[in-house]
């Protein structure tokens, strides 16, 4: 398990949103491994291979991180800040997934270097379409430099 490469890290505390995401992602033809963590603390442990994920290989960086911005304990903004502040993880694309389209959340996220900001659509069909489009874009079309 620890050596398996993870292509999408989904950081999401809502089991409902996880269910929607996984369901719609599985309906795409993208054969990528999705790993789900439920809070910011675990997200940082996963990427930096510490704590409960200390057995993981640091070189197995996710190709993209889908990050819910509002979570208990360590929230999305803090995860974003920490990952973008570290030279090793800075180049991992981070897509913010948020319920909020408040301007200040957008400003704050971009200030911390988010690569994309998506407002979770209320409509399930749109939500599914969004997951399909962004997954395809970040996994198939986007290029990132090696660390």
């Amino acid at each position: 398990m620890s050596d398996e490469s993870v292509e999408i890290l989904l950081v999401e505390d809502s089991p409902d949103d996880v269910a929607f995401f996984v369901r719609t992602f599985n309906k795409t033809n993208l054969a990528a491994r999705v790993h789900v963590v439920a809070d910011g603390k675990e997200a940082l442990e996963f990427v930096f291979c510490t704590g409960s994920h200390s057995a993981r290989n640091l070189a197995n960086r996710p190709k993209v991180i889908f990050l819910d911005m509002k979570m208990p304990k360590v929230d999305g903004m803090e995860v974003l800040r920490r990952l973008k502040a570290d030279p090793y993880t800075r180049t991992i694309p981070i897509v913010a997934l948020s319920s909020s389209n408040e301007e200040r959340d957008l400003i704050e996220s971009y200030r911390h270097g988010v690569n994309s900001y998506i407002v979770k659509p209320m409509d399930f069909d749109q939500f599914a379409e969004t997951v399909r489009v962004i997954s395809q874009y970040w996994l198939q079309f986007n290029k990132t430099p090696k660390p």
Binding site: D16, F20, S99, F124
Partner: protein
């Protein structure tokens, strides 16, 4: 000299004296009963009665009512006894105006020692009396004023000092008369007096200078000082009057007001922050469960549609639709709250340009429809461009929505002058509404049309009203069912609480 010549010379002398007297004085002669038998021109001039009107009358015709009965009785007893009476009398002229005369009445007696006639010689002292009255008033004002009223020379020596000055500064007039004004001025402000004197010397006055003076005990007092030059009759400045008002209490009150304002400001900021936190949590926390409800209903439909009775499928669809609708309501509420909080950045804007830009954004709403839109002459106005854009967006998309069934839909954007204000309007030929419900038009979530006829959340016009009110303007509508609606708004000049 012959007796006849002597007599003639005497008569001429008498004539000369009479002429001189008539030039100088107001003269009247009365008989022992007081009836006027003779008046000179000056008497007529000051009393404004003609000689004919006066002859045969007594002096009651001139009675001003000012003097007491005792005063009049004393006058008559004196002259009836053959003694000269002197005094000042206030009389009333024919036109009702009053005049004062300094009066001497000389009784002339017959051989029996009884008065034969009275000759009254008077001088006009009306002006002097007026000046005296003013002086009395001024003295009373000076005495009773709570303000310090101080007179000083140009070298700063105090020449007058009233009770108000004593009260404010604690020095008696004995202590201050003749001493320097600098005694009242804190050492570090002595320069100020120098500047005041410079201005006074130039003939200028100093108005409401708010500064600090010190009392006898050295206590500092906040005062407002007005100082004006005192000039002699030739116009030369010889000193200055200085009125100082103790504004310590006002200063304290002002300080209190500014503290209260700061406190209010702080509370407003706090409340606004609370409100923002509230909206923020609504935006995050209410949306997520709604998305889940809609999502699971949709998943049920997708996964089990084949095994459901058709009615169950329709009901799932309604769950989904309602979840979506509530999502839109939340969005509307958030938008309403956001636009209410957003700072107002007013500047001169062109409503016509804004309306055109909005129409470009609404192109997709017009596709496949026959819509005639005219934009008239819209004068520039003072508004926040982003917020005014929102107003036009909401009003124009309403106009398009409610004229959807018209072919062609006719929409007119215009302006007219109404009592100096500019009233902008947006008129359509659409569904309109009944005026009796017009008062509901601008309330949040208020709708005058059924959702299955015209979709909507009932937030758009509430937003329009909030924005217009924040600009100090007013918005209202006129409509008739199936004939269309016209929405009017102004950007200024109305009480926001109306």
């Amino acid at each position: 000299m012959q007796p006849e010549q002597q007599l003639r010379a005497s008569l001429r002398e008498i004539d000369d004296l009479k002429a001189a007297l008539d030039e100088h004085a107001i003269v009247a002669i009365t008989d022992p009963q007081g009836k006027i038998t003779c008046v000179n021109d000056k008497f007529c001039a000051i009393s404004k009665y003609s000689e004919q009107e006066l002859l045969g009358q007594d002096h009651r015709i001139l009675n001003s009512g000012f003097h007491s009965k005792e005063f009049i009785r004393d006058l008559w007893t004196t002259i009836a006894r053959g003694k000269v009476w002197k005094g000042e009398i206030k009389n009333k002229a024919k036109d009702g105006s009053f005049y004062w005369v300094d009066t001497t009445i000389v009784p002339f007696l017959n051989d029996d020692g009884k008065p034969r006639q009275y000759v009254a010689i008077r001088a006009d002292i009306t002006e002097r009396k007026r000046m005296e009255m003013i002086a009395v008033h001024l003295a009373a004002i000076e005495k009773s004023s709570d303000d310090a009223i101080i007179g000083k020379n140009l070298d700063g020596t105090i020449t007058s000092w009233n009770a108000g000055a004593e009260k404010i500064f604690g020095y008696s007039s004995e202590e201050m008369l003749g001493s320097s004004i600098l005694r009242l001025i804190p050492a570090d402000l002595h320069d100020e007096e120098h500047h005041i004197i410079q201005r006074i010397t130039r003939g200028e006055s100093v108005q409401n200078l708010e500064t600090v003076r010190q009392s006898k005990g050295g206590r500092l007092i906040n005062v407002s000082i007005t100082s004006s030059p005192i000039k002699d009759s030739s116009g030369k400045t010889i000193g200055a009057s200085k009125v100082a008002r103790d504004i310590t209490e006002r200063k304290l009150a002002e300080e209190k007001i500014s503290q209260l304002n700061a406190e209010l400001e702080r509370r407003v900021i706090e409340r606004t922050a609370e409100l923002e936190a509230f909206s923020y949590s609504i935006s995050h926390d209410l949306r997520a469960p709604l998305r889940a409800m809609g999502g699971f209903a949709r998943m049920l439909q997708e996964d089990y549609a084949a095994t459901f009775p058709p009615e169950a499928g329709r009901q799932l669809e309604r769950i989904h639709e309602n979840a979506m609708k509530m999502g839109l309501l939340i969005d509307g509420l958030l938008e309403f709250s956001r636009l209410s909080r957003q700072p107002l950045n007013k500047r001169t804007v062109s409503p016509a340009k804004i309306a055109n830009r909005v129409l470009e954004e609404l192109q997709s709403d017009m596709e496949g429809r026959h819509v005639k839109i005219t934009i008239g002459d819209l004068p520039d106005g003072e508004a926040d461009p982003t917020l005014l854009h929102q107003v036009f967006m909401n009003l124009l998309s309403n106009a398009l929505k409610y004229s959807r069934r018209c072919d062609p839909a006719v929409i007119e954007v215009g302006a007219r002058k109404d009592g100096g204000r500019c009233v902008y309007f947006i008129k359509d030929n659409g569904a309109g509404f009944e005026m009796e419900y017009a008062h509901n038009l601008f309330g949040v979530f208020q709708r005058l049309h059924r959702a299955d006829q015209f979709e909507g959340t009932g937030v758009g016009l509430a937003i329009v009203q909030r924005i217009i009110r924040r600009h100090g303007g007013r918005v209202w509508a006129e409509a008739e069912p199936d004939k269309g609606a016209t929405f009017y708004f102004t950007l200024e000049g109305e009480n926001i609480y109306v």
